[in-house]
Amino acid sequence: MDDLGTTTPTTLDTLSAEGTPARWWVAPLTLGERMAGPILGAACLVVIGIILTSGSYLSTIFEDILIFAIAAMGVDFLGGFGGLITLGQAGFVGVGAYGVAIAEVHGYGPWAATGISLAAVLGLAVVTGVVAVRVSGITFVIVTLALGQIFWGLGYQWTSLTSGDNGITLLSSPSIGPWSLSSTMTVWVTTFVVFLAILAVLLLMVHSPFGLSLRGLKSNERRLRALGYRTGLQRYIGYVIASFVAGIAGVLYIFSNHLISPATLTFSQDGFLVVMVILGGLGTIWGPCLGALVVVMFEQEISTYLARWETLMGVVFIAAVIFTPGGIAGLLRRGRLALTRLATARRRAKPAGGPAPAVASATAPNSSAGDALDAARTRGDGDAARVTAAPRAPSEGDR
């Protein structure tokens, strides 16, 4: 405690300046943190290399992972930041895929079909959004679930348009010169590029003023409204963005799988996307990608050894909801905090002075660690601190 009074100014200084040398003492940790990006990137490159050199089976699985990751990131954008969890996201994936297939059946070229499909997704999102964002919380989940089922019902029942249960096969894939999506490798690379682009855009959006106000919406809508935000409009825009992202995933889905049937729009698919988000980590954008990896692995790999993989996945999911509300991302964060505490303790054991205890007192004694981290991450952006820090209840952050 004695160091607290003397070093308080230092604390603020060290936190306000991003990545100051004051944190040098946590060298192993900061190094790990700094290297996380490059290491992940390198791992990605290795994986890409393996996929490109191996047979097409693995690349198909990774395509699925990336496509579902895109749709799941949309769910996370709306759910993790706006607090609106949708159980109808697979419906929009279906609209995107059906849009392309149906437009091609009616004689449009693949590029035109893609445009028509994305326009249709946007149109449907704009229209259904008006109804869906009238409610929030549990009722929003229920309404989007119903909406997703209606898209499924259309795919299943409107046989003159969708061929019903059999689904529609893709007629042709788009191409620019030699870059044709009819080859497996180009589909893979394209999917990967689109995935990275959407990941980047969503991450930017989450840290934009709009994304931060979405977070405020999740924490305390009434207060945000009192501050003069039009919360209904925010929810609406968030919903349209999330749905449109799902539509993009749908377009990629049809170019990758060449077949769209109502099976892709079932309630269990809607549920899978939410499972991905929760397993990966709600409110992180990148977490759901890990979730998508896990779920697709269950579906494609574990299912070959275990017929009852869905039971196992359900149990794992329930356990995750109970024990690790933050998902895989939350586990990683918890592990990192434990390491920080360990390092702090070791540092404190040594008699050396300097700015070290200052940083330690800023993070370690705070028991609601997630909030401290969040606050630290968003600090530097005045708007962010105002919107996120004030109304957030300690336990709400991870849900």
């Binding site: 969890i85 159980l87 008006v130 109804v131 869906a132 009238r134 409610v135 919380g137 549990i138 009722t139 989940v141 229920i142 309404v143 679930l145 119903a146 909406l147 089922q149 209606i150 499924w152 019902g153 259309l154 029942q157 409107w158 046989t159 003159s160 009434r222 079932t266 309630f267 269990s268 549920g271 939410v274 499972v275 929760i278 017929a307 009852r308 869905e310 039971t311 996945m313 359900g314 149990v315 999911f317 329930i318 909801v321 109970i322 509300p325 849900r399």
Partner: protein
């Protein structure tokens, strides 16, 4: 006209089944604030259990009804005692856990009863049809029976909620849970009782629904959709709202399937859209969720 009358009867029968399911759903939500997405899966499992009891002996139908109801009451007890306590009344976590439970229940059902559609026939006179006194409409007795049972259960539940002490506690729990607790009533036991009752209603409906809707993988999603549409239309947590909502959804779905088969799901969505635009809390719902 004859067609319309028959469809109306069909719609009322469907409304009866939907009412049994959604009243359980809405009671659980109203008292405990638990959104039990696995309610549809419980409905389906009730039917499967009854199938195992009845098999080809249609005379055993009522044993099947009892078995399905009792088994689902037991499942409800397990869910309420083993899973929900871990979630500390966090509404979204409870919803998500029941979502996971759907995968488990459905997958186990698939493992035990296989993926082929099954059916149970009603016994004796109930399995036959009779000619109605007007317009010489031939209509199966079983559907009238199912409708009658649904009405009877609805009246009994209503009487229980309005006239008995337990009903008063449940209604008070819907209005102000903390106050009920403060009055010295064991809310924990009330919760368990309501969850068991709700699950038993789902199982009961699951058995009664088999002769009308069949027993097939994925049937749980349809019935869940109906129940959710009912609570959105009628008002989440409102028992009377479940009655009104069931009538609306049952009739609209039946007419939709009969007259616009290609887009019946869209037709089903119309009442939802109207309600959400005009009265987002549902016809008989109150603005308590914030």
């Amino acid at each position: 006209m004859t067609e319309l009358i028959v469809q109306t009867f069909n719609g009322l029968t469907l409304a009866g089944i939907i009412f049994l399911v959604s009243s359980g759903f809405t009671l659980i939500f109203g008292v405990m604030r638990v959104t039990n997405l696995a309610h549809g899966a419980v409905y389906l499992l009730g039917g499967y259990v009854a199938y195992s009891v009845v098999g080809d002996h249609t005379d055993y139908f009522f044993y099947g009804l009892a078995a399905g109801t009792a088994a689902m009451a037991g499942l409800g007890l397990l869910m309420e005692r083993l899973i929900l306590p871990w979630l500390h009344h966090v509404e979204m976590a409870e919803l998500l856990a029941t979502l996971g439970l759907i995968y488990v229940i459905d997958d186990v059902s698939l493992a035990v009863w296989g993926g082929n559609p099954l059916s149970i026939n009603l016994p004796g006179v109930l399995g036959e049809s009779s000619v109605l006194p007007f317009r010489h409409i031939v209509y199966p007795n079983g559907r009238f029976f199912i409708l009658g049972v649904a009405v009877l259960v609805g009246v009994l539940l209503f009487a229980m909620l309005r006239l008995t002490r337990i009903g008063a506690i449940i209604r008070a729990g819907v209005d102000d849970r903390d106050m009920v607790n403060a009055l010295g009533i064991n809310v924990r036991r009330v919760f368990t009782g309501v969850f068991v009752l709700g699950s038993a209603l789902a199982g009961f409906a699951g058995v009664l629904g088999v002769p009308v809707l069949g027993l097939y993988t994925g049937g749980d999603t349809t019935i869940l959709l109906f129940a959710l549409a009912v609570v959105v239309v009628g008002g989440l947590g409102s028992y009377e709202g479940a009655i009104v909502g069931s009538l609306v959804i049952g009739l609209v779905d039946t007419y939709g399937t009969a007259y616009f088969p290609a887009i019946s799901y869209v037709v089903l969505f119309i009442p939802l859209v109207v309600i959400l635009l005009v009265r987002p809390q549902g016809i008989l719902g109150r603005r308590v969720m914030a």
